[in-house]
Symmetry: C2
Subunit: 143 residues, 2 copies
DNA sequence: GCTTGACCTAGACAGCGCTCCAGCTCCTAG
DNA sequence: CTAGGAGCTGGAGCGCTGTCTAGGTCAAGC
């Protein structure tokens, strides 16, 4: 077990700002209350960092802080509510899966447009100066 | 060429609210200005709907309205700036790709946790009443 | 003793993307 | 004639997620 970490160190490790760290704590996103030095300064443990890393994962996959707090509450309550935790995780899992699919569809559209423009630029090699292409080969919806 | 569409019809087709449609217009996200009936009501074309569908794809893949507006401006300016459009699309493409990857990583983490909980619940079949597992097999960071 | 820098709190503010409201005009049906 | 419904405008408000400010404490170093 290493020495405790200051808020600055945790900010550096997690990539969160010190502001955000305090904010997260106020919002009840930390599994157990952060210890304090006698002078009131926060002392984080490695576990806190791990927990925060997980929160960041949740956040960056679109889980609202509110839901993270709910999960945190469940964990804080201790064993006995595994079903609830599982349900929460599963529903997030579904959302993320759906989101990935959605993004893939978007990516296809975008890639298609990118290809079109590349093609177009490749044809009109010199800065693309024609006025009106005789054959509007662009079958894609909109430009 | 079909008849024009009312804002309500477009809302229905695109899934955007009429509020959002007016908002998008104010924000300059439409390639060409929406025609109006003599009484001031908006008349949309199929092209508008197509364009909006594209905007929705952009949005739902995380492109800020501001960037969509920039792209719209480029298109509105007509031919000659294909490089710029391409650059914009490419950089968005990159972001989406990165986002998908990020989400996949998150999904892995979540799936791992889901599996853990499922396992745990499967073991302690009857409502999971043990107090302390002798072997803390949970090597994952945090609960 | 003084400065510097990290930290503390409570609370105001910001950016984004809508969403809704008030108060109005039209058109159509009954 | 009236009511209902769709549309119009300008502007206020909101939910989320921070970010920043103001005003202060504390410890170390010159």
């Amino acid at each position: 077990m290493s020495t405790g970490l200051s808020i600055g160190q945790v900010a550096e490790r997690t990539g969160l700002s010190v502001h955000a760290l305090r904010f997260y704590e106020r919002e009840g996103l930390l599994a157990d209350p952060v210890r304090r030095e006698p002078n009131g300064r926060r002392v984080y443990t490695e576990d806190d960092v791990d927990w925060l890393a997980m929160c960041i994962r949740f956040r960056s996959s679109g889980m609202p802080l509110d839901t993270i707090r709910k999960y945190t509450d469940l964990v804080r309550q201790g064993p006995g509510n595994e079903q609830d935790r599982l349900a929460l995780l599963r529903s997030h899992q579904d959302r993320v899966t759906a989101q990935i699919q959605e993004l893939n569809e978007c990516l296809n559209v975008i890639t298609h447009k990118v290809d079109l423009y590349q093609q177009r630029l490749a044809e009109g090699t010199a800065d693309c100066l024609w006025a009106a292409p005789s054959t509007p080969t662009d079958t894609s919806a909109a430009f």
